[in-house]
């Protein structure tokens, strides 16, 4: 082995002896492949095995439909659309390609460890990914920023505090998929693609609320300790399914209701436009979360245990989200916006009461839809607790 080529250089990450040992350990395999390739080139012989029919599906044309050429269209071909319950290939070899003959020569990536379909799949995920791409928007140019109108200071401050809260929580909604995405093997690439679209959506949401906070002469206001603990719980989730439940069904479901209530919270057309566009994105994430939970509960090997785990986790998850939901940095600005000013904060509380009841009921409906009935044990009060 040409060891001098592999002498560690520098002092930064990835230069430890351990990193290099790991790198060396695979060198014998790929050096053997390289040697064979070089010998073949020296012999001047071509290897055209990919030109010959080899049992692959060939000759079936796929025409674009009204939505263009989507994954849904190409997945109608059985060999492309049939998804194994267990991913055998822990590498990048595309599902549907001729990869079996090379399996022994290919590396395995240990980080591709979400190898069971029930851990990630949702029956709606392929369509949701296509929809996500079709419904992208640009926070810089699709919001009519130049139409922002001056607001009384209490309303502007409330709008800025609410925007600060949303900037904070949207950040985690982008980070959570990133923790799990690289662990999903090629077998379930549709999920990976959808999570990538969710990260793009959440980056845009964090962007639009950050911009909203400052665009009308206000600024970012208070970050909240209660929010941070709830967000930490999402990031610390012990599995993709549990975290997806906490983020996409519970937290995003509640935020979806808030965006919908944006019609009442918004004091300008700009704010309405922001809330409406974010609402559309959020509803996709909620849909993925709900349908993934359904798939998990229906397909986990031990369904009874799966249900028990979900309930146990929801018991805690609902309480930690309640911690964020009861923060004065969220409820008070909502009441001021609902009441149209700080002098009407008590009247505004009626709006918050309505929003609270709507949020909890919609959460329970989605849980019902997924097969996780929380009605008898939900830890979030059905009615606003004051």
């Amino acid at each position: 082995m040409e060891n001098d080529l592999y002498t560690p250089m520098g002092k930064g990450p990835g230069t430890s002896a351990e990193d290099w040992v790991k790198f060396y350990s695979s060198a014998t395999v790929w050096q053997e492949i390289r040697r064979e390739n070089e010998e073949r080139l020296k012999r001047g012989s071509w290897d055209l095995r990919w030109l010959k029919p080899n049992g692959e599906v060939w000759g079936t044309k796929v025409n674009p439909g009204p939505h263009g050429l989507t994954f849904v269209d190409i997945n109608r071909q059985t060999h492309l659309g049939e998804i194994a319950e267990h991913a055998e290939f822990k590498n990048m070899a595309p599902r549907g390609s001729i990869r079996e003959p090379y399996k022994g020569l290919m590396p395995e990536f240990t980080h591709y460890d979400l190898t069971e379909k029930f851990e990630v799949w949702s029956e709606s995920v392929t369509g949701l990914y296509e929809e996500a791409k079709a419904r992208q928007w640009n926070a810089a140019t699709d919001i009519p920023w130049d139409e922002l109108e001056p607001l009384p200071e209490d309303l502007e401050r409330a709008a800025c505090q609410f925007a600060t809260f949303l900037t904070e929580v949207e950040f985690v909604a982008g980070d959570f998929p990133s923790i799990w995405m690289h662990r999903i093997p090629n077998e379930f690439f549709e999920v990976k693609a959808f999570l990538a679209s969710q990260m793009t959506d959440e980056a845009r949401h964090a962007e639009v609320f950050r911009k909203r906070a400052v665009a009308n002469g206000g600024g970012l206001l208070h970050a909240g300790a209660g929010f941070e603990w709830a967000l930490k719980a999402i990031l610390d989730a012990p599995s993709h399914t549990l975290g997806t439940f906490l983020l996409n069904i519970l937290a995003e479901g509640l935020v979806l209701s808030m965006f919908r209530a944006g019609e009442f919270l918004a004091k300008t057309r700009v704010d309405k436009e922001i809330f409406r566009r974010c609402m559309q994105d959020e509803a996709r994430h909620v849909s993925y979360g709900t349908m993934h939970l359904k798939y998990f509960l229906e397909n986990a090997p031990d369904k009874e245990k799966a249900l028990e785990i979900m309930h146990g986790y929801a018991d805690i998850g609902e309480q930690v989200i309640l911690t964020a939901l009861t923060e004065p940095l969220l409820l008070e600005p909502l009441a001021v916006l609902m009441g149209d000013g700080v002098k009407n904060i008590d009247q505004g509380l009626d709006g918050v009461r309505f929003l609270w009841a709507t949020m909890v009921e919609e959460y329970l409906q989605r849980c019902d839809r997924a097969g996780l009935s929380r009605r008898d044990q939900v830890k979030i009060p059905l009615e606003f607790p004051a």
């Binding site: 439909g65 009204p66 939505h67 709606s124 369509g127 929809e131 079709a134 419904r135 992208q136 979806l256 919908r260 209530a261 019609e263 009442f264 918004a266 057309r269 309405k272 409406r276 566009r277 609402m279 559309q280 959020e282 509803a283 996709r284 909620v286 849909s287 709900t290 349908m291 309505f354 709507t358 919609e362 409906q365 989605r366 019902d368 839809r369």
Partner: protein, 153 residues
């Protein structure tokens, strides 16, 4: 521009909106596609003697079907939008006056508290399609600003 004079509620009124959507595909492509079957219910009041029910079917960037329904269930809709005639009338008049719904006449504003408009579905994920496609649906109804709508009363 020649304005169409059409009566509300009627199949023709919704077909006119269908035509406007399908002629303006660039705008809807910008907003993203819509795949939904929606029942629109106009409850009788203020001069409308009989309840009217229509079905709208959207696929990708087009409204592909508009039809009369005796009952929303005939369409197997993903969600139903229902309100009294007077509510629809006020919304349409507001759109006409402002070129689009003002802040208090959007579909979402009218339906959030469940009154005066109700958006419902037996399946919460189907109801969520009202949220997922909201901007496109608002655009669909906002296009009625281009119609000269005649009301039954």
């Amino acid at each position: 521009m020649i304005e169409l004079k059409v009566q509300f509620p009627s199949l023709d009124w919704l077909r006119a909106l269908q035509g406007l959507m399908n002629e303006n595909s660039a705008r809807y492509q910008k907003l993203g596609y819509v795949d939904a079957r929606i029942a629109v219910v106009i409850e009788a009041d203020e001069g409308l003697e009989e309840r009217k029910v229509y079905g709208l079917v959207f696929e990708a960037f087009r409204c592909i079907e508009v039809r009369d329904l005796g009952d929303p269930a005939e369409l197997n809709p993903e969600f139903v939008m229902e309100a009294f005639y007077s509510v629809w009338k006020e919304m349409i008049q507001n759109i006409r006056e402002n070129g689009r719904a003002d802040l208090k006449h959007t579909l979402n504003y009218l339906s959030l508290p469940g009154i005066p408009m109700r958006v419902w579905s037996d399946d919460p994920l189907n109801r969520d399609k009202f949220f997922r496609y909201n901007q496109s649906l608002q655009e669909f109804f906002d296009a009625s600003c281009q119609l000269e709508t005649e009301f039954v009363i």
